[in-house]
Amino acid sequence: MASPLKPTDPHDNNSDRLRTVARYSGIGAQMAATIGLSTWAGYWLDKHYATQTPWFTLGLMLLGTFAALYNVIRAVSKGE
């Protein structure tokens, strides 16, 4: 099947449905990983600099949450 690429309807068969499931489950895991990783990085920085108030943890956690939400919104609004 060396036919040229042609646009396909995104819900025309099972493999596309599977593809969508995999895609969105990937987005969820990515969201969790973003928040988790940035919180961990903030925690590590707070430990490393022995800060009185955990500003790094707080700041990076918020940044991570923002980044996760931003990426989710962008991924779902992009569509397929």
Binding site: T8, G26, N71, R74, K78
Partner: protein, 350 residues
């Protein structure tokens, strides 16, 4: 954990007297010394010998070569038989499956461990299978496939048409070798990990990390200027917001392979732990009546794992293809709802 076990026990021994289950749990975990946690962790972890099974006191084990380097001491190479049951050889011994030097020197462990042996074995299997498939194409060309070739052709075509072409677009061809390799590598190793005595290779975070790093490197090296423009000058975002958006985009670059790594590791390891937990229940209860129930559950999880084996291979390949697709994409589409829709700056889909 105790309470949970107790609750399960009560459930399974409704006909027994109320005082009996407590005694059984205590007997099973203390007198017998069966540690389900230890057994499970030993099973999913790496080790310097390949333990197949034990009959009573007889252990059927393949001893693998140990290769260690210590500064000032040079390379030591010997069979892991010498280290069995906590023995010391050449100043080296095993502490919780970690090779340590008696004099406290740093040990660089290059041993052929169970996972490495399994990796070599699976590489050999993959080579054998796919050279046979390739020979089929060399010999028969575009004729109908035969033998093992006809089993793999639909899968290869699926990866090409459904994964690569749809995610990457017209430039998909040069990424096919990697996508097919990673798909079959993960699938074969997942299945080999499910076989009795198999090693938990794809449930090892070092293996999944290596795969994720290769994906990251391929994505970065095949990225075009649109990919980087999207990170450092996200279209539709005001200049004042860029100091926030650049870190957010950079986090995204590294989180993608990170989530690939964790997903494969967690799925495969969790499957092994759940299956083993059901099997271990028999030995915790020491009651034959439990066996049908736990075996039924264990078998169910096992069949689910057969599905997970190919599903995780597919997801890893698909997401890899999508990340590559995002990196090689030419801008042709408006990034709608995220600004750039006024036509002033041509926006591109990430």
């Amino acid at each position: 954990m105790k309470r949970l076990l107790f609750a399960l026990l009560c459930l399974f021994s409704l006909t027994a007297r109320a005082s009996e289950p407590v005694a059984t749990t205590a007997d099973a975990t203390e007198a017998e010394g069966f540690q389900p946690g230890e057994m499970i962790l030993h099973h999913i972890g790496d080790s310097h010998e390949w333990h197949w099974f034990s009959l009573g006191e007889d252990h059927y084990t393949t001893y693998l070569p140990v290769l260690a380097y210590r500064a000032g001491h040079g390379v030591s190479a010997f069979s892991s038989r010498e280290l069995a049951e906590g023995k010391t050889y050449d100043g080296l011994k095993l502490e919780h499956e970690h090779l340590v030097s008696e004099d406290g020197a740093k040990v660089y462990d290059f041993s052929i461990t169970k996972n490495v042996a399994s990796l070599i074995l699976s590489a050999a299997v993959l080579l054998l299978v796919f050279t046979a498939v390739a020979r089929g194409y060399a010999k028969r060309g575009t004729e109908a496939p035969r033998g093992i070739q006809s089993f793999f052709e639909p899968i290869i075509v699926f990866v090409r048409d459904e994964v690569a072409k749809k995610s990457i677009g017209p430039k998909y061809e040069r990424y096919m070798p990697y996508l097919l390799t990673v798909f079959f590598f993960i699938w074969f190793n997942n299945l080999m990990g499910l076989m009795p005595g198999g090693a938990n290779l794809t449930g090892n975070i070092a293996v999944t990390m290596t795969l994720a790093i290769i994906t990251l490197l391929i994505t970065l090296f095949s990225s075009n200027k649109n990919y980087w423009a999207h990170i450092f000058a996200t279209p539709g975002v005001p200049k004042a917001l860029l100091p926030i958006m650049i870190p957010v985009e950079l986090i995204g670059v590294f989180v993608k392979p990170f989530s690939l790594m964790v997903r494969l590791f967690a799925n495969i390891t969790a499957g092994h732990i759940v299956t083993l937990s059901f099997i271990a229940l028999i030995f915790i209860f020491r009651n034959i009546g439990v066996a049908p129930v736990t075996l039924a559950f264990g078998l169910f999880i096992f069949f689910l794992e057969l599905l997970v084996a190919i599903l995780q291979a597919y997801i890893f390949t698909l997401l890899t293809a999508m990340y590559i697709g995002g990196a090689v994409e030419e801008h042709h589409d408006a990034d709608y709802q995220m600004g750039g829709g006024d036509g002033a700056t041509p926006a591109q889909v990430h």
